[in-house]
Chain length 263, copies 2
């Protein structure tokens, strides 16, 4: 079982990715983003990102109901179904699903942020959280009957509300739940870069041990990314390919050593 | 098997419909619209409906690629997934699908419209068509495993392109393919009205024969609606309930004779 993670950047070449999937000799599931599309739609709808500053001075994006609506339109609607359409055109019998459908990805809603208003402390909770369980029976039911699941956010929380979640966390949970032995991440870079500003600095191979060392050296978004990668190695043996999702034949390129392989 | 058709008007009370579904003692499938939501989104995105006039003077709405994108966002994304969410909150294990997913609803694309441009005749084809076959195996697979399918447009054409289609045609095809013996249509009126302008003129019972007579007396959109109703009686025995989707307990009301029953 292979999990294909397709980034949501605007340079990602969806058509060449989908066409190249026939060269993958394995069952697979796709998890995709749509952040560029989401941002574009939010802009057109004059939706401004809500940023909250907590009482302790920590600021974070607040996913209100409208943010979820925009996610449903861009991720679950437009992007998910256009990928399903491309798959069907490539002879892949895809079914697009969110975590809400058949409670495919259940999560726990974040507790909230403590904010100060008129001198009083108040907890405010948005619609975001972390995935905790996968409906493996549903995925197997579909796969065993010849369908390819195409997954995206939102996921469903403990009270059956739609919540946003990080795709990295979803991929890690899927990997463990399905005992997938391969994860292919298609991104807007030629691979894992030693120097984020130098596209020629692709690291061809990284070991699980080296990953830990590197994680200790970085911070911010990069640290989160490293932690997400490390998570993929928490159960069973895994090969993680980090590859260019902007080029022709990106899957073939990935499997032939064209990007970064973490083992 | 019961097919629930939920209209896409803005007065439709989705929450009360979904909550009332537990009072339905039968397997069911939902087919829903989202036209009010689609029109609202199109307006926000400054999308103007394309209307083409054919060489023979017949004008029709032209579903271009952007119209399909807006359909994917409003029908397949926002409305479909919010209904799935409401279902999950009501204890119904729903899965939202379009006709693209697993080629659930395959259709034939319309041939196109002959238009005159610079004195020359040219065929232009939009992304619209008619549903022809249902993937009954997929629906049964889901229903037999305890899931409730929530269906919406688009459907998929013979070349695997997303196309728009009339929900009435989809419901009729589903009814025949699944041998459903009940269709409940939830609309923005208290039932089938003898006089379209008088909400007190609900016709309590109509026979299949009377339907034919009435069809001959009307025209325009109403004729299309009557034809669609007649289609529901082309195979097997059927009870069609046309009921108010704006009120509390709309399903209970429908089954207790609150609207129109066609038998």
């Amino acid at each position: 079982m292979t999990i294909i993670k397709i980034g949501g950047g605007e340079q990602i070449n969806l058509e060449s990715i989908i066409k190249d999937l026939i060269n993958l000799d394995d069952d697979f599931i796709i998890v995709h983003g749509a952040n560029a599309l989401r941002d574009e739609l939010a802009k057109k709808l004059d939706y401004e990102k809500q940023v909250l500053v907590s009482a302790s001075g920590y600021s974070s994006v607040f996913s209100d109901e409208e943010a979820l609506d925009i996610m449903l339109m861009s991720y679950s609607g437009l992007r998910n179904k256009r990928i399903v359409e491309m798959c069907q055109q490539a002879g892949i019998n895809a079914i697009g699903l969110t975590g809400l459908d058949g409670k495919l990805i259940e999560g726990k809603r974040n507790r909230g942020i403590r904010v100060k208003e008129d001198g009083k402390l108040r907890m405010v909770r948005d619609f975001s959280g972390k995935p905790k369980t996968i409906n493996v029976d549903l995925l197997k039911l579909l796969i065993d009957n010849g369908y390819v699941p195409i997954l995206t956010v939102p996921i469903i929380d403990e009270n059956n509300f739609a919540i946003s979640s990080e795709n990295d966390d979803i991929v890690a949970l899927l990997k463990h739940s399905l005992n997938a032995d391969r994860v292919i991440q298609l991104i807007e870079a030629p691979g894992f870069l030693d120097d984020a500003n130098n596209p020629d600095s692709v690291v061809k191979n990284i070991s699980r041990t080296e990953l830990g060392k590197r994680e200790a050296q970085v911070d911010g978004r990069m640290k989160r990314k490293m932690k997400a990668l490390i998570k993929l190695f928490e159960s069973g043996s895994t090969s993680v390919y980090i590859c260019d999702g902007r080029i022709e034949n990106p899957i073939t390129n990935a499997l032939n050593g064209g990007g970064t392989l973490i083992k």
